[in-house]
């Protein structure tokens, strides 16, 4: 990767971290306030289904996670496992895509 690409990845990780700082706080407070009798999919969907606001909130939340996590994993792979290069990059892109797919799949349930 070029210095330009690395710098852009660094910016993406910092921006996504700033987004996550806000979104994780909202997410945790909501969970603590809303969850009364255990955490299950039916209860969650009962509260959120049809809400464009929550769908948008979690769509962005998932996107931020899918950007932030693989960049961090790439750094950990490089520094702790000495694993760098195209193989490590592809693996991290795959993990990010998987997180995005899982997360947005859940968000679709809120919309539909």
């Amino acid at each position: 990767m070029t210095e330009r690409d690395e710098t852009r990845l660094w910016i993406a990780q910092r921006v996504s971290a700033a987004v996550l700082a806000l979104f994780v706080a909202v997410h945790l407070v909501t969970m603590i306030v809303a969850v009364k009798g255990g955490l299950n999919a039916a209860d969650i969907l009962g509260r959120t289904r049809g809400s464009a606001t929550w769908a948008l909130f979690y769509a962005l939340f998932v996107l931020a996670v899918a950007v932030h996590a693989p960049i961090g994993l790439r750094n950990i792979a490089a520094e702790w496992l000495q694993w760098r290069g195209p193989g490590a990059n592809r693996c991290c892109v795959a993990i990010g895509s998987f997180l995005l797919m899982l997360g947005w799949y859940a968000v679709v349930s809120v919309i539909v």
Binding site: E6, T7, R8, W10, W80, R84
Partner: protein, 244 residues
């Protein structure tokens, strides 16, 4: 200042001997008032074992050549009093970490200084000898940033204390990046874009995790951490403008 009375007549000193596969050897050294770690090493070399290899020059904290690992932390030994670092009446003195050991307490500093060059630590003049002196007002932001970072003596303590250097041997390290930061703020320098590219990426400022060991241990009380943060901001601005 070491004003306290020595509590014992002798110091128990373990000194690294040999190369990377060497080990610590113990010596008994007479305790003295206001004794520095460099005094201890010199006493061993002159009185006990003349084959001990170590490096020093000025003895007054200017040249940056006597840095060693003392009781687990990198320090300039000429300005480190024994009283300050003594742990359970013992001293352990080793070579700087993150650098190849030549022999005993001497490390190979080539990679450390090569990284200064790789970070474009050379001043790139924009004027000729026929031009007048540049007048840089002390109150300007750039000059203040330079003043805060310029007194580096190249001792390598920050480099030896940096976990990121240990994890990523290509990482330029705090001293080289600190040097680059001073040049980025020098209005007379003409190579700023190329230098920003040199300090970006996996081996550059973006690899820094802001652990701040460099800032904690810098004997000149500089903050390479702040300089690296400045480089990060500068690279982001350059990237957003499309010049990086």
């Amino acid at each position: 200042m070491a004003t306290q009375k020595p509590e014992q007549a002798n110091l128990d000193v373990a000194v690294w001997r040999g190369g990377a596969d060497g080990g610590y050897r113990n010596y008994l050294v007479p305790r003295q008032d206001a004794q520095t770690v460099l005094d201890v090493v010199t006493w061993i070399q002159r009185k006990l074992d003349p084959t001990l290899a170590y490096r020093f020059a000025c003895r007054v904290g200017m040249c940056g050549s006597c840095a060693m690992t003392v009781n687990g932390k990198s320090r300039w030994t000429c300005r480190t009093h024994v009283a300050k670092v003594l742990a359970h009446d013992r001293l352990q003195i080793g070579p700087l970490a993150n650098l190849p050991i030549v022999r005993d307490l001497v490390t190979d500093m080539r990679e450390f200084f090569d990284k200064w060059a790789r970070a474009k630590g050379q001043f790139a003049p924009t004027a000729t000898r026929r031009d007048d002196f540049a007048r840089v007002a002390p109150v300007t932001t750039g000059r203040r940033r330079i003043d805060a970072a310029i007194e580096c003596i190249g001792c390598g303590i920050c480099y030896a204390s940096c976990d990121v250097v240990r994890w990523n041997p290509a990482y330029l390290g705090p001293a080289a990046l600190n040097r680059a930061w001073t040049l980025q703020n020098d209005v007379r320098d003409g190579d700023k874009e190329a230098r920003l590219r040199a300090v970006s990426g996996d081996a550059g400022c973006h690899a820094c995790h802001t652990l701040a060991s460099c800032t904690e241990l810098c004997p000149k009380q500089l903050s390479p951490t702040a300089s690296i943060a400045g480089l990060k901001r500068a690279t982001v601005r350059a990237a957003l403008k499309g010049v990086l």
